[in-house]
Symmetry: C2
Subunit: 136 residues, 2 copies
C-alpha cells in the first residue's frame, strides 16, 4: 500500500507544479483544496523542503514553492524521499542495500530473483516520469 504521506506529498507537489506563477502557496490552501489534514501536510512539506524539492517563506505572503522545474523533478527521487526505498527487499536495493540475515545465498534465492525484476520494472516507471508528467 502507498502511504498517505506519499499520496499527500505527491498531491501537494502536483498542486504546486500546476500553479501559473511560482509564488509561495500556503499550507492551508493546499490542505483545503486537496483534502489533507493541515498538520500532517505541514510535516510532509517540511521534509520535501529539507530534501531539496521545495523552498519556503515565512510570514505574510509566505508558503511553499518549487525550486526546480516540474520537468526536472524525477519520480525516483520523490518516491525515495516520501515512500522510502523503491526495492521491496533490502537485498535488491540500489540505494539502501542490505544483506538478508536469514538468507545464506542471494544467488539462489527465489525472493531475490523475483524482487529484482519487480525493482527494475518500478524503476523504469519512476525514472521515466517527472512531476510534469503527472499534471493533467
Amino acid at each position: 500500500m502507498l502511504s498517505k504521506k506519499t499520496k499527500y506529498g505527491l498531491k501537494a507537489l502536483t498542486y504546486l507544479a500546476s500553479q501559473k506563477e511560482n509564488t509561495p502557496v500556503q499550507i492551508a490552501e493546499i490542505s483545503e483544496k486537496e483534502n489533507i489534514s493541515q498538520k500532517f501536510l505541514e510535516s510532509i512539506l517540511l521534509s520535501l523542503r529539507k530534501s531539496g524539492f521545495l523552498g519556503s517563506k515565512k510570514g505574510k505572503g509566505g508558503g511553499y514553492y518549487l525550486i526546480k522545474y516540474p520537468k526536472e523533478i524525477l519520480m525516483t527521487d520523490v518516491m525515495r524521499i516520501l515512500e522510502g526505498p523503491i526495492a521491496m527487499v533490502p537485498c535488491v536495493s540500489l540505494n539502501f542495500y542490505e544483506k538478508c540475515d536469514d538468507c545464506p545465498d542471494e544467488a539462489t534465492c527465489s525472493v531475490n530473483k523475483l524482487m529484482l525484476m519487480v525493482r527494475d520494472a518500478n524503476l523504469d516507471v519512476y525514472r521515466n516520469n517527472t512531476l510534469a508528467d503527472l499534471i493533467i
Copy 2:
C-alpha cells in the same frame, strides 16, 4: 516493503517446487531449511492451502505438497494471496477496486495516473513469471 509473510511463503513454495518427488514435506523441515519461525510458517502454509496452492496430509508421513505444477502457478495469484492487492492504491486495483473518499476525480488525479503505470509494470512481471521461473 515486502512482508515477511510473503517472503516466507515464496520461499516455502519454492522449496516444495524444487523437491524431486511431490510427496508431503513437513512444516518443521521447511522452517529449518529456510530459517523460518515454525509457528509463523504454519499459518502461512495454511492460508496457501486454503487458497488452493497446496494440499496437506495429517499424521505420520504427512505434510504439505503442491497441487499444481510449478509452471502453472502464476506469481499474480501467489502475490495476491500472500501480499494482498498488487495495486498500491485501491483506485487502480483490478481485483480490489475502491474509490478514494478524499479524491473528487480520478481522471485528474496525479496519484492515480502514476500508480496506474506502476500497477501495469508490476502486473507485467507477475503475469510473466510462474513458480517454475523462480527455481535456480
